[in-house]
């Protein structure tokens, strides 16, 4: 698209050209490069969690007219590091009567789908671990398995609060999965592809948020529910069921839940960016200005949009009260689902009318 090469792509190309003569076999080089991508993604997840924990507390402070963390490091930036050290050194308590293996595996398993989902995020043009032709479908399929570890944690903890939380998480995530998927179908119909890079490239003229505003709204609501954040934080619901499935976890196991929450938050925001906000592309603007900002690499745009979405989710969290479980269900099934179906219908009719209009 543009002539100046992305710095990250340059690094990747340099690495590959360095590895090529070293390893010889191109397949081995490919596998090694996947390893590098995995390491990069892990770096993104951990680095991101550090920033997001800090950012969430800063945003909360801003919303609540107080400074937020400002003691450890400059403007409190090292607060998360201090917290992490605290969490690692904490005693890892295993209560009596837990289902040992299930209980141990839950936080670990929770992390797997989250990590796997990152494989298909198009951070920039060409900067995607695996550009699957069913990228969006892959993301949805992988992300939906997040329900299981929550149920595992809730069931194995041998605690009634945890059990209620686990049951709630299944009911909530399964219910909001459906509007989430349906909200994305409208976009897929417009693009005609599930490939992440095609979806982004299809938005070079106009972002899909303008063509699919209702779908975007449904997506944001359902994504908030999927990530268990206020006003849909019934799974955790600290004033009702203490901490839900996480009640009995402490130390590093608990922080894995925490980490996964922020990784998921980033994931749904990244998908919103990819599908609705034009991905790595700069905002629509006149050609002159487009050339002027061409030096900004795509991943900067991608990160900016993703962090904007994350800020939106944080804004929700710090201003809304929580739904009740029956209201949550009726809102999901009676409002969001019909709305999503209607959106698909309108999109279909719109595409048909457009084709007739241009004589296709």
């Amino acid at each position: 698209m543009n002539t100046n090469q992305d710095i990250l792509l340059t690094i990747a190309a340099t690495l590959r050209s360095f590895l090529d003569p070293l390893l010889g076999n191109p397949d081995v080089v490919d596998v090694t490069m996947y390893g590098v991508a995995l390491a990069a993604i892990l770096g993104i997840i951990f680095g991101n969690a550090v920033i997001l924990v800090w950012a969430e507390r800063k945003v909360a402070g801003y919303m609540q007219s107080r400074p937020g963390p400002n003691r450890v490091g400059p403007i409190g930036l090292l607060q998360t590091v201090a917290d992490t050290i605290k969490l690692i050194t904490k005693e890892d308590i295993r209560p009596k009567g837990v289902d040992r293996w299930v209980w141990f595996l839950a936080p670990v398993v929770l992390f797997v789908p989250t990590l796997a989902a990152y494989a298909v995020f198009p951070f920039s043009e060409g900067l995607i671990a695996v550009d699957l032709n069913i990228g969006l479908f892959y993301f949805l399929a992988v992300a939906s398995t997040v329900t299981i570890p929550f149920l595992m944690a809730g069931w194995s903890s041998n605690n009634k609060y945890s059990l209620i939380g686990g049951m709630r998480s299944v009911a909530q995530m399964v219910s909001y999965e459906i509007p989430l998927v349906f909200s994305l179908i409208g976009v897929v119909m417009l693009v005609g592809s599930l490939k992440m890079s095609s979806i982004v490239e299809a938005q070079s003229g106009i972002w899909f948020i303008f063509l699919q505003p209702v779908a975007f709204l449904i997506y944001v609501i359902a994504a908030t529910a999927e990530t268990n954040r206020t006003p849909f934080d019934l799974v955790e619901g600290e004033s009702e069921i203490v901490a839900g499935p996480m009640t009995e976890y402490s130390g590093m196991k608990w922080s894995l839940f925490f980490l996964a929450e922020y990784a998921n938050l980033f994931a749904v925001s990244a998908i919103a960016t990819t599908v609705f906000l034009g991905g790595w592309q700069p905002p629509p603007m006149p050609a002159v200005m487009r050339d002027a900002v061409a030096f900004i690499p795509g991943w900067i745009w991608f990160a900016a949009k993703t962090y904007f979405m994350i800020f939106l989710f944080m804004w929700f969290r710090w201003t809304f009260p929580r739904f009740r479980v029956d209201q949550l269900m009726s809102f999901g099934w009676k409002v969001l689902l019909p709305l999503a179906l209607a959106n698909i219908l309108v999109t279909g009719v719109g595409i048909y009318a457009y084709r007739i209009a241009i004589g296709g």
């Binding site: 609060y161 619901g237 600290e238 004033s239 009702e240 710090w318 809304f320 009260p321 929580r322 209201q327």
Partner: protein
């Protein structure tokens, strides 16, 4: 499918039980079959302690009953003792008492509103309520050096006169109050999710409210027009022009919103009192050793949580023969089981928030 109910022990260590209340919930899934409050974790035997203290020494103990409304409690016990002694109070002291008691009512209601928002998952609403309440606590702090346990209202008047500039500071607070209320309206009571959570949940009929001897906002939310300040005016409350806001259905929303409206009425009373407050002494001539004549007395005032009454029996000695408090929070809390049945776990938290017990008073 065969199902069975299960028991969930909520508290005494639980984020939403306002202290150390324990509620044993019998649950059918998420639906409450029975809610049994278990109280007494904070019982200190204040009634018995006060029977072994002089009359004046019992005033600080009332601060520690309903610790969110110490001024009102001080006022209640002092007026009871004064009634027993048939004491006349200087005008200025009466006005200071009204101003501090109503300020304390506003502070207490701010907590109720904020903590309810917190119980429903709205952190930020709570923070703003607490921030604004701090203005009142600062006023009290400059007045008597304490933020919550004041011991400022004394038998025969108040401890000392207002510090310089205090009334201006109080006026400034009242000037800012409408903006604070606007914030709460935007952030808490105007929120549709919050309204959905509260409206129509746990309604209480006027008959049941009276039968259960409920008082305060819990009673008035059911539409019963009973406010001790109007029904049985104490002090100089008959001089002020204010309304008693009433609810209609007695659901959680009415109980919650009534407190919001009561803040506005309290501000009205303070404004009038600030205009009328005279100069003069703040303490009547009270003997160093209070020995009320033999007899008994019951006096009640409108505490932020309801009808707070004190019953004293004097045998002519410096110590009361019987010292009893009618604690509104304790009596209102008894409604929890009745109101919670058939609602969700999340509603128990909300109902508890609107009944607004302070465990220091419940357990006494």
């Amino acid at each position: 499918m065969q199902t069975q109910t299960f028991e969930l022990n909520m508290g005494p260590q639980h984020p939403a039980t306002h202290g150390v209340l324990r509620v044993v919930l019998e649950l059918d899934g998420e639906i409450v079959v029975k809610a049994t409050p278990v109280i007494g974790y904070l019982h200190r035997g204040i009634e018995k302690i006060c029977e072994n203290r002089t009359y004046v020494q019992s005033i600080p103990f009332t601060d520690r009953m309903d610790y969110l409304s110490g001024m009102n409690n001080n006022l209640a016990i002092c007026q009871t003792i004064e009634k027993l002694m048939a004491l006349e109070i200087p005008e200025r002291a009466e006005y200071i008492r009204v101003i501090t008691a109503e300020l304390n009512r506003i502070a207490s209601h701010m907590i109720t509103i904020g903590v309810l928002a917190l119980d429903l998952g709205g952190w930020t609403g709570m923070v703003y309520c607490f921030r604004d309440r701090e203005r009142i606590l600062d006023l009290f702090n400059s007045l008597c050096g304490a933020r919550m346990t004041f011991n400022y209202i004394r038998v025969g008047g108040v401890g000392w006169d207002l510090p310089e500039g205090w009334l201006d500071e109080c006026r400034r607070f009242l000037k800012d109050l409408p903006e604070m209320l606007k914030t709460y309206e935007d952030l808490i009571s105007g929120n549709e999710i919050l309204q959905m959570r509260l409206k129509g949940v746990a309604p209480l009929s006027a008959e049941r409210a009276i039968a259960m001897s409920a008082s305060g906002a819990v009673l008035r939310a059911s539409g019963v027009d009973y406010d001790v300040r109007k029904a049985n005016p104490y002090g100089i409350y008959d001089r002020f022009d204010f309304e008693v806001p009433l609810g209609t259905s007695g659901d959680n929303w009415d109980r919650f919103y009534l407190r919001y409206l009561e803040i506005i009425q309290s501000a009205r009373i303070i404004e009038q009192a600030l205009e009328q407050i005279p100069e003069g002494p703040v303490m009547a001539k009270v003997p160093k050793m209070i020995k009320p004549p033999v007899g008994e007395v019951y006096h009640h005032v409108e505490n932020p949580r309801g009808d707070l009454g004190f019953y004293l029996v004097s045998d002519g000695s410096p110590k009361p023969y019987r010292w009893h408090a009618r604690r509104p929070a304790m009596i209102n809390l008894q409604l929890l089981d009745e109101l919670s049945r058939g609602t969700f776990i999340a509603d128990v938290v909300a109902t508890l928030g609107t009944l607004d017990p302070v465990l220091g008073e419940v357990d006494c």
